[in-house]
Amino acid sequence: MAVGRAGGHDGCSSHLVGKIGNLQIMETPPIFDVNGLCYNYDNQIPALEHVSLTVRRGERLVILGSNGSGKSTLLKILDGLYFPNQGSVIAFGRLLTEQAFQEEAFNFEFRRRVSLVFQDSDVQLFMPSVWDELAFAPLQLGLSQEEVKSRVESALRDLQIEKLRQRAPHQLSGGEKKRVALASVLGLSPDVWLLDEPSAGLDPLSTAWLLDFINQQGKAGKTVITATHDLGIVDAIAERVYVLGEDHQGVAEGTPHQVLADKALLISSRLMRP
């Protein structure tokens, strides 16, 4: 299996790629188009090297890699928090640059459509109570107070955390924190979910709930990009897997079945013991 670009056209209209009988197969337009991306911390320590990747609307993609392979950095770049040292990232047909985010309209639209759930829930949950946490994003986007209240209540209901509304983040268990972290962006109803190691530190029951949540989002037509090293969840949440190697480069991509069956690939990517 070789690393391959999954497609590379820009624009927002669907694209006919094939036909099976009377069924037309439409290739959905890319949400993210990453080309030759390089990123170094402090201009010295490489985090990503020549990564190229295309993500399509409604796709459930897993970025698989060992610790330090650059998964979290890639998600932060896709969320417009870091910017490439080299190469480019095009999102919704627009190049992601610091200048682009200076534009109020673009920033609003991008932040409304793309949400990142950080690996460490303690970083994600910075407000003093769960209710305030959930209200933070809708408020920053300038929604009316009534709309904010309605979205917060809806997110509390959807994730079954109504009882936690007045609790402080430090009073929550790991599983509860993860639910609140997801709820904190659910209020925005994003089109694209970026999830960084979502199953890290969760017990089996919470992990099962999380996998259901990810699949529900996928079924609702949302694009879900999950960075993980947990081989146990890949099959349950991915339609496509992109593997980042130890050298911070994309080393393979394919279906979960293809990737998980390739032991040599998993061993060389330090995802499996030789």
Binding site: F108, R111, S115, L139, Q145, Q171
Partner: protein, 260 residues
Amino acid sequence: MDIDHTLEQSLFAEKTARQPGLLQELDPRLKILSALLVLLAVGLSRNLTVIIVLYFLMLALALFSKIPLAFFIKRVWLFITFFTGVIALPALFITPGTVLVYLPLGLVITKTGLATAMFFLLRVGTSVSVAVLLVLTTPWNSVLKSLGVLRIPPVIILILGMTYRYIHLLLHLTNDMFLSRKSRLLRRMKGPEERRLIAATTGTLMNKSLQVSSEVYLAMQSRGFRNYPRTMDTFKMRRIDWLSGVLVVMMVAAAIWLGK
């Protein structure tokens, strides 16, 4: 361990603040303004009886708010004995006036000295009681949000809220660091070794807090933060709040007038 104790105290305060009780039912903004007015009355009063009445009123409010009285009194007076007591003590002996008690080494306690020390201690005791009562009957988050009523800018309130939130995180982290050290320690450490280790722990904690703060900023940006926070509060003044407000104003006015 002290860190455990601090965390426990904070959790206890949150628990009492969320239980049903007289003060817990009132609007936090009203409680903040009322607390400031009572502090003003305590500060302006020159009549010891008025201050004593106000102190007992605080005890009664604590009782009706289902705060364990022994805990409440201990929390207030333990602090005062150590800090304010040290400042008030010399006033007993050095203030000139009619002698009440003769002590060894030529020391005397005068009537004026006793009154001055009592005034000082009761003023501080009543003021601290007001503040402790506010914190024990109002979730800290609501206290912070209510600061808006004092025209404190939202960005300052946001920073205070985040500081409170991350102090807990860093306390947990410090606790874990000390416990992990304890579990690996095979012998008692000597003074210099201990100091070196504490310095290293402080450095690690500082690095961790810097790392967390930059990640938190990214998390804020990711959710639309543009360096100016938009906030909202959900408080609503009910009839009972307005009525309580009027009562507080009348009581404070009476205390100031009687205490002249």
